[in-house]
Point group: C2
Chain length 130, copies 2
Amino acid sequence: MQTDHLSAKFAALADPTRRAILARLALGETSVTELAEPFKMSMPAVSKHLRVLERAGLIARGREAQWRPARIEPEALQEVDRWLEEYRRLWNARLDRLEDYLNELQAAEQPKPARKPVAKKAGAKRGRKS
Amino acid sequence: MQTDHLSAKFAALADPTRRAILARLALGETSVTELAEPFKMSMPAVSKHLRVLERAGLIARGREAQWRPARIEPEALQEVDRWLEEYRRLWNARLDRLEDYLNELQAAEQPKPARKPVAKKAGAKRGRKS
């Protein structure tokens, strides 16, 4: 079955061990032997996870037959980031509406002096991205 | 098999039909019948995808037995966004190094007048998030 690139990435990330391997590789490239140790996994098991990550484009491997160091390809995650962009807008819009609503509630609670909305530009507070 | 929340989300997103359903729900809540039409899928097939999305927390469904409208829960994707954050830093750092290198190359090409690096704050150009 052929899967599209983005699906392959999401599928590769849908495993805690593979995400842990990525986190380890974010610190620097390493060999399968070194990777297998902290995970208490057999080398074939680690190799299998690396193949999934490699096929998804999330890591690349060296050519040396014996010591094929794996390194992360973080740029491959930009596709996931771009996919998220639309939904990021959606959740920010929702949070804005919630904020407006809370401001209205607060304003209604203190009838005088004239409605003074609570600090409005709170986008930064939740680390808005766009 | 028990899967952690983040893995369940990635697994749910690893399917183009489920991502298309999410994109449709981003426009507003809708019934299974309405969802099934554009996708040319049977209702049971759509229901199955909705169950995967629901279990991952990416959508919620109404209580009405007949018409159980599905709606997106975009906030659930913030967990994916937070996971990406570390790697976003990594790819930005890489792009910065690449930029520095290109600047050095350019500077080397035009020996005079004294090195004038190309616009340095190019973070915005690639939509840097942090």
